[in-house]
């Protein structure tokens, strides 16, 4: 936390130092503080109105039964009670974690491999980067539509399987098919992004480390495991943290993939593609159970908070000289949350 909260640069007192200690309390001193306070105020005003108020309001809402149209009815902790006994909710929690695991592990591995290869490849580096990053900037809605056709029973994926003499897979109609399809979309979208982050990490490793290893007579494998991976560990952990936070909020892929069918809002056959946020959206904006939706938001928050803490512990454990710090983590998290 120290990296973050350190005062904003020591020479920040570059304002002409006040003559007397009492100066800041005089009206003139206060007026002096007005411009910077004014400058930072938009964020706090917007946050108060569109961030803090809704959050506090959602506490209140989670104790009500309300469809948004009629009157609110106070129900105490009943929404939470129902939520804890709601098998679909727990199913959605499980699905979310399964999809998260199925996507994050291969994604980080592939990103690492790509980063190593990019690191050793000097020519066309810029072109590779652009090509790997493009999936990340395209709309998920459009690409989910494309993947939806690829994974259809008679779609491209099964055509390829047929061409090599295998049976088709129920990509959108079986438990693991659905989870794999969603995971593949996530992997496709994020591998390049993470590879570029890892590449930056690799390039930041000082050359002396390699030379020292060479002097010690280490072969390339030893170099990889003794020098490179330990140095990369913090970056990889950050990628894991952000993948967790994003993974727990999967929505678009599952929603768009099954939206055009009768079972549309429910995450596909068996609700195997139902994620936490999709369920929240369904309860709140398809079935208009606003109180239930608010309660679910808090449970989601609790889950994310627990994982964030666990991840922080992991990150804090890797306290070596090249640790990018919590600041880096925050930057990355914000970066991927987008809005």
């Amino acid at each position: 936390m120290a990296t973050v909260l350190e005062p904003a640069g020591a020479p920040a007192a570059n304002e002409k130092p006040p003559a007397g200690r009492t100066r800041p309390t005089t009206p003139g001193g206060r007026r002096r503080h007005l411009p910077p306070l004014l400058a930072i105020s938009p964020f706090y005003v917007l946050f108060a109105v569109f961030g803090a108020f809704p959050i506090l309001f959602s506490v209140y809402l989670s104790f009500q039964d309300w469809d948004g149209i009629g009157d609110m009815r106070y129900v105490g902790f009943q929404q939470y009670g129902w939520l804890l006994r709601d098998s679909v909710f727990w199913h959605s929690v499980l699905n979310t974690f399964e999809i998260w695991f199925l996507s994050t592990v291969p994604m980080l591995f592939l990103a690492l491999v790509l980063a190593f290869l990019l690191h050793s490849q000097v020519r066309f580096a810029g072109a590779y980067r652009v090509a790997y990053f493009v999936p990340n900037v395209t709309s998920m809605v459009a690409m989910t539509v494309v993947f939806g056709s690829v994974f259809a029973q008679a779609g491209l994926a099964n055509s390829v399987l047929r061409a090599v003499g295998l049976d088709g897979v129920g990509w959108l109609s079986s438990e693991w098919g659905i989870k794999s399809s969603v995971s593949i979309m996530i992997i496709w979208r994020w591998v390049g992004y993470n590879a570029l982050i890892f590449l930056a990490g690799l390039q930041a490793i000082p050359t002396e480390h390699f030379e020292a290893a060479r002097v010690d007579g280490a072969n390339s494998r030893q170099t990889l495991f003794r020098v490179v991976l330990p140095q990369l560990r913090p970056v990889v952990l950050f990628a894991a943290v952000t993948s967790t936070i994003n993974g727990l909020q999967i929505f678009t892929e599952s929603q768009v993939l099954f939206q055009s069918t009768d079972v549309g809002t429910t995450g596909g056959p068996g609700q195997e593609g139902m994620t936490i946020v999709l369920y929240l959206w369904q309860k709140a904006f398809k079935e208009h159970q606003f109180g239930y939706g608010a309660a679910m938001g808090w449970v989601l928050f609790a889950i994310i908070a627990v994982f964030t803490v666990i991840n922080w512990r992991l990150v804090a454990g890797s306290d070596d000289d090249r640790r990018p710090g919590i600041a880096g983590l925050l930057r990355r998290k914000g970066a991927r949350n987008g809005r």
Partner: protein, 290 residues
């Protein structure tokens, strides 16, 4: 940014730096990766330029067909494509401009000025990061409804007009790239806070603004769940929501849906390709250290 410049003579990893054969392997795998990365776009073009019947032919048709313009024309006939495009552009451009302005202004203040409760306020800013947006999806909608903003583009632009990520990121940048001497020189000329911001700080922020700008623009352009919830007027939606609607309404006409999908991704890819060089360099730099 320094990370971008590879020290000369640093062979980096031992991997692939050896024989010509292994170099070849590296290149092959990298190219395979590029293929996988770009194939869905190619496939989108194939689907959008064929007929609905082509899509489920076995063996599949792997080259683009002649119907691209047809299909795109039909998209224009069935949905208000340009209307949605216009809404999306308005949201992305205005939203980005506001974010750049408010974030850089606040960052300037945090980086170069002292004021009461600064540490507390900055700490609070960081804490707001930790709150997932979906937590308050319901109350945010209720708030928008109460303001009478539901269904209006304001609901997509204003709430995110200043964000913690941008302020934090710009502040880091300002600390490292804005020399105090310049500010002092400005002060001697009698410039106040806002003049200094506008004439001294802002020009120096340009690289950081470029990154944050593209970043914000992409995020606003592609946002889906919030417009889906809050844009309650079916005649005024963003491109993403319009495409999702097209996908449901015309699910028997796949060529049409694909043409719509293609049209919705082209503008953003163009924007990205224009800014790609700066953006990717800053992204990598931002991830490591400032």
């Amino acid at each position: 940014m320094a990370v971008e410049q590879r020290p000369p003579g640093n062979a980096g990893l031992a991997i692939g730096s050896g024989s010509r054969l292994s170099r070849c392997c590296v290149r092959a795998v990298l190219l395979l990766g590029v293929l996988v990365s770009l194939f869905p776009f190619y496939w989108l073009v194939v689907l959008a330029s064929g007929t609905t019947q082509d899509i489920y032919r076995y063996p599949p048709k792997l080259v683009p067909g002649p119907h691209l313009l047809d299909n795109m024309g039909r998209v224009l006939d069935t949905v208000d494509f340009f209307g949605s495009l216009f809404n999306t552009v308005v949201v992305a451009v205005l939203g980005t401009v506001l974010v750049l302005f408010f974030d850089s202004l606040a960052a300037f203040a945090f980086a170069k000025y002292e004021f009461p409760a600064k540490k507390f306020l900055f700490g609070m800013l960081l804490v707001t990061y930790m709150i997932p947006a979906q937590l308050s999806l319901v109350p945010q909608f209720v708030t928008m409804a109460a303001f009478g903003w539901a269904g209006s583009l304001k609901a997509l632009i204003i709430p995110g007009a200043a964000n913690a990520f941008g302020i934090f990121w710009m502040r880091q940048y300002a600390q490292n790239s804005l020399p105090d001497e310049l500010l002092d020189a400005g002060r001697i000329d009698g410039a106040g806070f806002f003049r200094l911001y506008w004439t001294v700080a802002l020009p120096l922020f340009r690289p950081a603004l470029a990154f944050l700008g593209i970043f914000t623009f992409i995020g606003l352009w592609n946002d889906y769940i919030w417009p889906l919830v809050v844009m309650i007027d079916p005649d005024r939606v963003t491109l993403q929501v319009a495409l999702a609607n097209l996908n449901v309404l015309y699910n028997t006409d796949y060529a049409l849906v694909m043409a719509g999908a293609l049209m919705s991704v082209i503008p953003l890819i163009v924007v990205f390709l224009i800014g790609a060089r700066h953006f990717l360099r800053d992204l990598a730099a931002g991830a490591m250290k400032m």
